[in-house]
């Protein structure tokens, strides 16, 4: 008797849900401006109708009185929400985006396929080549400097320093704040505070402005990398360090012959973390200089985007210059670079695991 009740309930929910979804889709496909009265209200509510229908349908599925399939149904319902969101926000735009980079897409529609023309255009654009180059320089300097700074801070924070907890928290603090706000705070520091001491704003010339971005980025990120190194250093077993000191190793010897080799995997993690995040650097770049900076002669052209890195270049190509197709082609190149970096990282991590 109870089984029949749930069966009825389940069928009712399934059918009601399906009808609602079908009605919503019907309205979505046949929507016309000249609906009036009740029809118009229903047509405007089609989204709500669709969502309610889907939820009812899932309830119906859940209520199906079948012990054999119940587990599978639950699995399906559990997976669906996240996979659906992931599919709509990541997979579809990725596929579309790669496709759009071969067309004359305007951000809304495209009229024809243009082949690799967008890619050729971007490689003939000195401003873009400049952005790629300075991004690589920035990434290289950044990875080296942040890791050195982070590692030294970690050594400091694992030594016999009083109030270590306070210092760790203080060094980490800048990492909490978003790049946009940080960028403006530092713009103030460079333009108003430092200016009154060195009589010149670091943001006014391209080279020093790049240096300024690096300083801010280390300031923001150093504490985070420090924390990861601290974790690595504290995981070195105490007896190894004890053995080294009994054998009469000096502090420097312990550092280079014991500590650094023992945290090799942490170094790999930090290197790639800084590498990918430096490549994607956007917020600080935008708020601090917005890419400005003059370059008198590069590939025979005058450039005004001296400090504009790759991510900001892509953004400005689309939003400021309204050139969506070329921006998308640049973004695909950006994706390829990052994918290659990630693959190298996986290779290195795997080979290290085999060694150990």
């Amino acid at each position: 008797m109870k089984g029949r009740d749930t069966r009825l309930e389940s069928n009712f929910l399934l059918i009601l849900g399906a009808v609602l979804m079908f009605a919503a889709l019907f309205f979505a496909f046949t929507i016309k401006a000249n609906y009036s009265g009740a029809m118009k209200t229903i047509a405007n509510l089609r989204g709500t109708l669709l969502v309610c229908g889907a939820i009812l349908f899932f309830f119906g599925l859940y209520k199906i009185p079948s012990t054999a399939h119940h587990r599978k149904i639950v699995y399906f319902i559990f997976l669906f929400p996240l996979l659906f969101a992931f599919f709509i926000t990541v997979i579809i735009p990725l596929v579309l985006g790669i496709g759009y980079s071969f067309t004359d897409w305007t951000g809304i529609r495209f009229t024809k396929v243009v082949g690799v023309q967008n890619y050729l255009k971007m490689f003939h654009d000195p401003a873009f080549i400049w952005s790629v180059l300075i991004t690589f320089v920035f990434v290289l300097l950044n990875v080296i400097l942040i890791n050195i700074v982070g590692f030294c801070l970690a050594l400091l924070c694992t030594s016999k320093l009083r109030g270590v907890a306070f210092f760790r928290a203080a060094y980490f603090l800048p990492n909490l704040i978003g790049g946009i706000v940080l960028g403006y705070i530092w713009q103030f520091v460079f333009n108003n505070v430092l200016m009154s001491y060195i009589k010149f704003s670091m943001l006014s010339s391209t080279k020093t402005a790049m240096l300024a971005i690096i300083i801010v980025y280390i300031w923001q990120y150093g504490g985070y990398i420090m924390l990861i190194y601290v974790t690595g250093l504290t995981q070195i077993p105490g007896d190894v360090l004890e053995a080294a000191s009994i054998d009469g190793a000096s502090a420097l010897q312990t550092l280079f012959k014991v500590k650094i080799p023992m945290i090799a995997s942490t170094v790999t993690i930090c290197t790639f973390l800084t590498l990918t995040s430096a490549f994607k650097q956007f917020d600080v770049n935008m708020a601090l200089t917005n890419g400005a900076g003059s370059v008198p002669d590069f590939m025979g052209a005058y450039l005004s985007n001296g400090t504009q890195m790759l991510a900001l270049n892509i953004y400005n190509t689309a939003i400021a210059k309204n050139n969506f197709a070329v921006a998308q082609a640049k973004a695909v190149l950006f994706f390829i670079i990052l994918a290659v970096i990630s693959l190298i990282q996986v290779r290195i991590s795997n080979s290290r695991e085999v060694e150990m």
Binding site: F166, Y171, L173, L176, G178, S196, L273, D283
Partner: protein, 289 residues
């Protein structure tokens, strides 16, 4: 021997303090200059000259009621977006991670898992432009606005945060002994009951980690909300509001720094309450991701 050790720790203390002063100096500048008038800031941005509490209230008042910044509204929007996204990510993420780790020997689960992992290398820049157009089209099709709306942005965070969330949670769930679930099944517990009553409560430590990682990112994110909500749209998150505000008040440092103070304050308060969890959560996320 003892005195050299003392000397050493003194040197370390001095070095550490100097670095801390350097790191905290910009924060000091923000807080201190928020107490000043524009002319006093420009005249001397480092010293206390011109500091007054009345001026702070005046600055904050003009910032909070500024139509470009609209602090309380932006703060509320950011809070709602962050909390709703986090709740949904944790709930749906752990549900999906549980299904994946309980079926990890089956091909379909492996494929889903691999796609999630592979998607973590996709930079936002390559999907951001088509994302906006897709959301615009979907919104038009079903009649629910996906751009310039809270629900649209929450949906986007669910999609973008999903991969990392599932990855970290799956690693954790695989370590929970399967016998627990078998015992529950023998006692007549349904699969969904097993998940909600037995597995989900065990996930607490890892859910803290996931919440911190996603929360820091969503709260501070600028690019996604600025593209989806627009610079001058009706709905604004805190970073978008700061950008819109600064754009309209170039060099008005009394207002800009007061706005910056308001924007960083919530995060600093949260950090002071849960600094241990936040720092260990960030490290765990980096080491596992």
């Amino acid at each position: 021997m003892n005195s050299t050790r003392k000397g050493k720790s003194l040197v370390l203390g001095i070095v550490g303090t100097f670095i801390a002063l350097y790191v905290l100096f910009p924060f000091y500048l923000v807080v201190m200059n928020a107490f000043k008038k524009q002319t006093d800031i420009v005249a001397d941005p480092v010293r206390f000259r011109g500091v007054s509490f009345a001026q702070l209230l005046k600055n904050l008042n003009s910032v909070i009621h500024n139509s470009n910044f609209n602090f309380w509204y932006a703060f509320g929007t950011s809070t709602v977006i962050t909390i709703v996204s986090l709740v949904l990510l944790v709930l749906f993420g752990s549900m999906a991670a549980w299904v994946i780790s309980r079926n990890h020997k089956k091909t379909w689960a492996t494929v889903i898992y691999m796609v999630f992992i592979a998607s973590m290398i996709i930079p936002f820049q390559v999907v951001m432009l088509p994302l906006v157009s897709t959301f615009r089209d979907v919104g038009k099709f079903i009649g629910i606005s996906m751009l310039q709306s809270v629900q649209g942005i929450v949906f986007a965070y669910l999609g973008f945060g999903g991969a990392m969330t599932v990855f970290i949670l799956t690693g954790f769930i695989k370590g929970i002994p399967y016998e627990l679930e078998e015992a529950a099944a023998i006692d007549g517990c349904s699969p969904e009951g097993t998940f909600f009553k037995i597995i989900f409560p065990l996930l607490r430590p890892i859910i803290t980690t996931v919440t911190i990682l996603n929360g820091m990112w969503i709260w501070n994110d600028y690019l996604l909300p600025s593209l989806m909500l627009g610079q001058n749209g009706k709905v604004k998150t805190l970073p978008v509001a700061v950008q819109a505000f600064v754009g309209s008040y170039v060099k008005q440092w009394d207002l800009i720094l007061s706005a910056a103070l308001l924007a960083i304050l919530p995060m600093i308060i949260v950090f002071l309450i849960g600094q241990k969890q936040i720092m260990s959560g960030m490290v765990e996320g980096a080491v596992k991701g």
